[in-house]
C-alpha cells in the first residue's frame, strides 16, 4: 500500500465538484484495493448527483407551482423563446453525451489519443451550446425580456411574464453554470489523459465525469420542453 507524501496541490481546495482521483498513483493510502476505491468513487458521484436532483428539484417545484397558477401568462412568455435555437442546442448536447460516452469507452480500451480527441469533442459541443445560449440571452436583452430594471412588456400579464422570464434565466443560468464547471473540469482531465494517466486499469475519473456530464444533459432534456415547447402552440411567431 502506498503512502502519500509530498505537498498537496492547490487543486485540492477548488471543490467545484467531487474529486475522486489522486495525482500520486491511482490507489490512495486509505483504501485496501482499487475495487474499494472505485466503488467509493461511484457511490460518491451518485450521491452527489442526488443532491443535484434536489437542487434543481427545488426550482422546478417552484416553476411547476407558478406555471399552474399563471398558465396563460407562462404560455405567452414561452412563446417568446426561440424554439429553433433550443432544438439545435438539444441536438448538440445529445451529441456531446455521445462523445462523452465514447470517451469512457476509449479510456476502458486504453486508447489515449482517441480519449483525448473525444474529450475535446465533448468540450467543443459544450462550448457550442454555451455560445448559442449566449446568443439567445443577447436577443432577450435586446427585446427587454431580461428580468429586472430593464424589463419591458406590454399587456395585462406583464408581471407574470416577468416571472416566467425570471424562471427561464435562473434555470438555464444554473444549468449553464454546471456546464461551465464541467468543461473546466474536463480541461484538467484532458491534460491528464494526454499525460497517459488513464488506461483500462484506471479510468474512474473519466467515468465519473461522464456521469456528471450526462446528468447535466438530462437536466436540459427536462428544461427544454418545460420552457420552450410549452408555448409553442400558443401564439407562436411573435
Amino acid at each position: 500500500m502506498s503512502q502519500r507524501h509530498g505537498p498537496v496541490t492547490a487543486a485540492v481546495i477548488t471543490g467545484s465538484m467531487p474529486e475522486m482521483d489522486n495525482d500520486h498513483g491511482p490507489l490512495q493510502h486509505h483504501f485496501d484495493d482499487m475495487a474499494q476505491q472505485n466503488e467509493s468513487a461511484a457511490l460518491g458521484m451518485w450521491l452527489f448527483l442526488l443532491t443535484e436532483v434536489m437542487f434543481f428539484g427545488g426550482v422546478l417545484t417552484a416553476y411547476a407551482v407558478c406555471r399552474y397558477l399563471f398558465h396563460d401568462a407562462f404560455a405567452e412568455g414561452a412563446s417568446h423563446l426561440d424554439v429553433q435555437m433550443g432544438t439545435i442546442n438539444t441536438i448538440i448536447l445529445i451529441f456531446s453525451s455521445l462523445t462523452m460516452a465514447l470517451a469512457v469507452r476509449a479510456a476502458q480500451m486504453s486508447k489515449t489519443k482517441l480519449l483525448v480527441g473525444l474529450l475535446i469533442a465533448t468540450m467543443v459541443f459544450g462550448g457550442a451550446f454555451l455560445v448559442i445560449k449566449g446568443i439567445e440571452y443577447e436577443h432577450k436583452w435586446v427585446e427587454h425580456h431580461v428580468p429586472g430594471k430593464y424589463f419591458q412588456y406590454d399587456g395585462p400579464m406583464a408581471n407574470q411574464v416577468h416571472l416566467f422570464f425570471s424562471f427561464y434565466f435562473t434555470m438555464t443560468g444554473i444549468h449553464a453554470l454546471h456546464m461551465i464547471l464541467g468543461i473546466g473540469w474536463m480541461i484538467w482531465l484532458t491534460i491528464r489523459s494526454w499525460r497517459g494517466d488513464f488506461s483500462a486499469a484506471y479510468f474512474s475519473p473519466i467515468e465519473m465525469t461522464g456521469l456528471y456530464w450526462h446528468f447535466v444533459d438530462i437536466v436540459w432534456i427536462f428544461l427544454f420542453p418545460l420552457l420552450y415547447l410549452f408555448g409553442a402552440g400558443a401564439g407562436a411567431g411573435h
Binding site: E19, H30, L50, M54, G57, C66, T170
Partner: protein, 568 residues
C-alpha cells in the same frame, strides 16, 4: 485481563504509561501541515477551532440581546440595530455552529475510527469542506462589517427582498456556500460507512453514533441543496431583480417559506441526531451496560430522517396555507415525536439498574435527557393547530427551540467534547471543573429559557425589544441565567486548554469504554490503527472488564513492528 468478573466500578487509577512517541499531532509541524492536511483528525481540529470561534461570535450577539431585554424600553440600541443583532445571532449559531458542530468535529474525527478505517473515503473533499465552511463564514462576517443583516435567520421574504436595506445578498451567499460543506461532509460519511468498514463490522455492529451520523447525512445531502436553491434565489432576487418571491412582480413569498422549511425542519435533525448518537455512546459507557434496544435506536434515527422531511408545514400554520394541509402536517409532526421518544425510553432503560457514575460527559448526558424532553414535549403545543395560533412567533417558541438546540445539541456537543477530549489530546481535564461547569450550565440554561416559556405563554412576541413593564421580572431572570450560562461556557475553555499541557496522561481508554476508537493510542497515530482491526462482536459489550492498557508505546508509522495491541 481476560475472563474476570465484571467490575461494578472501574478502578479510577492514574494511567501509568506515557503518551505515544508519535501521533497525528506531531507527525508534522507548521501552518502548512495543518492547512493542507488531508488527515480527518486534523481537519476535525480545524473545524473545532473555527466552530468555537463562531460559537463565541454567536454567543456575543446573544449577550447583547439579553442585555437589551433587561429593560422594557429599547434603551441600548435602536430597533434597526436590534434586528441585526438577533439575525446574526441566529445565522451564526444555526449555520456556522449547530449544523456543523458534532458531525464536522466528532463525526470527522471518530466516524472513520469507529468503522476501523484509516480515513474518510474522500479526504480531499473533506478538507475542501472546511475551506468552503471558512469562505462561507468570511462572507457572513463581511456582511456584519457591511452593516449587518436584519431579516431574521430565516431570510423570510419580503423582509429579505422588498423591505430589507441591509447586506442580505452577502449573508445569503455566505450561507449558500456553507451549505456545500455540509453536503460534502454528509456525502463523505455515507460513502465511508458503506464502503470503508473494517472486516467483521456488520451494519448491526456499528456504534449508534455511526447510525446517527448516517441518518443525519441523508438529511444533509437531500435537504441542503433545497435550501441552497431557495437562498440562491433570494440572492438573485436582491442582486438582479428577478421576482420569484416578490408579489409585486408576480412571485409568491410563501413559496420561499415552503422551500426554506423543507430543509430547515430536517436541519433540526442534522443538529440533534448526531447529539443523540453521542448520548448512546456516553450513556452506555457510564452505565456500564449494553445499550438497551440497539436496533430500535438505530432504526429510529432513520425514521426521524425520513419522517422529518414530511413535517415542514408546521412552521406555516398561520401563513394562510390550506387548513387541510395544516391538519396533515400537524398529524405528521406528532408522528415524528415517536422515534425521538423511542430513543429517550431506550436510554432510560439502559440507565435502569446500570452501574452509573457521574463523570462530566455523563452529567451533560443527563442534562440532555431532561432538557431535550422538555423541548420535545413543548413542541407538541406548537404542533397542535389551535395552540400554535396562540403561541406562534412568541417567546414560547424561542424557549422551545433553545431547549432543543442548546439543551439538546449543545449539551450533546459538550458531552462529546468531554468524552473524547482524552482521546483527541491524550490528556485528562480537571474532573472537578468539568462537573462544576456542567452543573452551572444546567442551572444557567434553565434560568435563561424557562422564563421565556412563561413570557411566550403570556403573549410576548419574539423579535421585539420593547415590552410591557410587567414582563420585566421574567426578562431579568432570563438575563441573569444567560450570564451564568456564559460563565459555564467560558470555564471549559480554560481548563481544557490547561489540560493540554498540565493534564494527567489519559492512556488509550480512560473511561474503559468499548468501541474501536478506544483500542488505539491517545492521541491516535496518523493512520488511526497499527493494523486494520477485525470486529467479532456487537457494540457496547460492557459485561466484561475493559482496562486502560498501554498500547504499543511510541506507536507511529515509523516505529518498529510491535506485538499486537493487547485488547481485553
Amino acid at each position: 485481563m481476560s475472563e474476570q468478573a465484571a467490575p461494578r466500578r472501574r478502578n479510577r487509577g492514574r494511567y501509568e504509561g506515557d503518551v505515544p512517541r508519535e501521533h497525528y499531532l506531531n507527525v508534522a509541524y507548521g501552518l502548512k501541515s495543518w492547512l493542507l492536511t488531508v488527515d480527518h483528525k486534523r481537519i476535525a481540529i480545524l473545524y473545532l477551532l473555527s466552530i468555537t470561534g463562531f460559537f463565541a461570535i454567536g454567543g456575543l450577539f446573544a449577550a447583547i440581546i439579553r442585555m437589551e431585554l433587561m429593560t422594557p424600553t429599547g434603551d441600548l440600541m435602536s430597533s434597526e440595530v436590534y434586528n441585526r443583532v438577533f439575525t446574526l445571532h441566529g445565522v451564526v449559531m444555526v449555520f456556522f455552529f449547530l449544523i456543523p458542530s458534532i458531525p464536522a468535529v466528532f463525526g470527522n474525527f471518530f466516524l472513520p475510527m469507529m468503522i476501523g478505517a484509516k480515513d474518510l473515503a474522500f479526504p480531499r473533499i473533506n478538507l475542501a469542506s472546511w475551506y468552503i465552511y471558512t469562505i462561507g463564514g468570511i462572507f457572513t462576517l463581511a456582511a456584519i462589517i457591511a452593516g449587518g443583516v436584519d431579516t431574521g435567520w430565516t431570510f423570510y421574504t419580503p423582509y429579505s427582498s422588498t423591505y430589507s436595506n441591509s447586506a442580505v445578498a452577502l449573508t445569503a451567499i455566505g450561507v449558500f456556500i456553507n451549505g456545500f460543506s455540509s453536503i460534502f461532509t454528509g456525502l463523505n460519511f455515507i460513502v465511508s460507512i458503506h464502503k470503508m468498514r473494517a472486516p467483521g463490522l456488520t451494519w448491526m455492529r456499528l456504534p449508534l453514533f455511526v447510525w446517527a451520523h448516517y441518518a443525519a447525512s441523508i438529511i444533509m445531502i437531500l435537504g441542503t441543496p433545497v435550501v441552497a436553491i431557495a437562498i440562491f434565489l433570494i440572492a438573485v432576487e436582491r442582486l438582479l431583480g428577478v421576482g420569484i418571491f416578490d408579489p409585486a412582480l408576480g412571485g409568491d413569498p410563501i413559496l420561499y417559506q415552503h422551500l426554506f422549511w423543507f430543509y430547515s425542519h430536517p436541519a433540526v435533525y442534522i443538529m440533534i441526531l448526531p447529539s443523540m448518537g453521542v448520548m448512546s455512546e456516553v450513556i452506555a459507557c457510564f452505565s456500564r451496560k449494553r445499550i438497551f434496544g440497539y436496533a430500535f435506536i438505530a432504526a429510529s434515527s432513520l425514521a426521524i430522517a425520513v419522517v422529518g422531511f414530511l413535517v415542514w408545514g408546521h412552521h406555516m400554520f398561520v401563513s394562510g396555507q390550506s387548513a387541510y394541509v395544516s391538519m396533515v402536517f400537524s398529524v405528521l409532526s406528532m408522528l415524528v415525536a415517536v422515534p425521538s421518544a423511542v430513543k429517550v425510553f431506550n436510554w432510560l432503560a439502559t440507565l435502569w439498574r446500570g452501574s452509573i457514575s457521574f463523570e462530566t460527559p455523563m452529567l451533560y448526558a443527563f442534562g440532555f435527557l431532561g432538557l431535550f424532553t422538555v423541548g420535545g414535549l413543548t413542541g407538541l403545543y406548537l404542533g397542535t393547530l389551535a395552540t400554535d395560533v396562540h403561541l406562534h412567533d412568541s417567546y414560547f417558541i424561542v424557549a422551545h427551540f433553545h431547549y432543543i438546540m442548546v439543551g439538546g445539541a449543545v449539551m450533546g456537543y459538550l458531552a462529546a467534547v468531554h468524552f473524547w477530549w482524552p482521546k483527541m489530546t491524550g490528556r485528562m481535564y480537571s474532573e472537578f471543573w468539568g462537573r462544576l461547569s456542567a452543573g452551572l450550565l444546567f442551572i444557567g440554561f434553565n434560568l435563561t429559557f424557562f422564563p421565556q416559556f412563561l413570557l411566550g405563554y403570556m403573549g410576548m412576541p419574539r423579535r421585539y425589544h420593547f415590552y410591557p413593564d410587567e414582563w420585566q421580572v421574567l426578562n431579568v431572570l432570563s438575563t441573569a441565567g444567560a450570564s451564568i450560562l456564559g460563565i459555564a461556557y467560558l470555564i471549559p475553555i480554560i481548563y481544557l486548554v490547561y489540560s493540554l499541557r498540565y493534564g494527567p496522561i489519559a492512556g488509550p481508554n480512560p473511561w474503559h469504554a468499548t468501541g474501536l476508537e478506544w483500542t488505539t493510542a491517545s492521541p491516535p497515530p496518523q493512520h488511526n490503527f497499527e493494523t486494520t482491526p477485525t470486529v467479532t462482536e456487537e457494540p457496547y459489550d460492557y459485561s466484561k472488564a475493559i482496562e486502560n492498557v498501554a498500547i504499543t508505546p511510541g506507536a507511529g508509522p515509523e516505529s518498529p513492528p510491535s506485538p499486537a495491541a493487547p485488547r481485553s
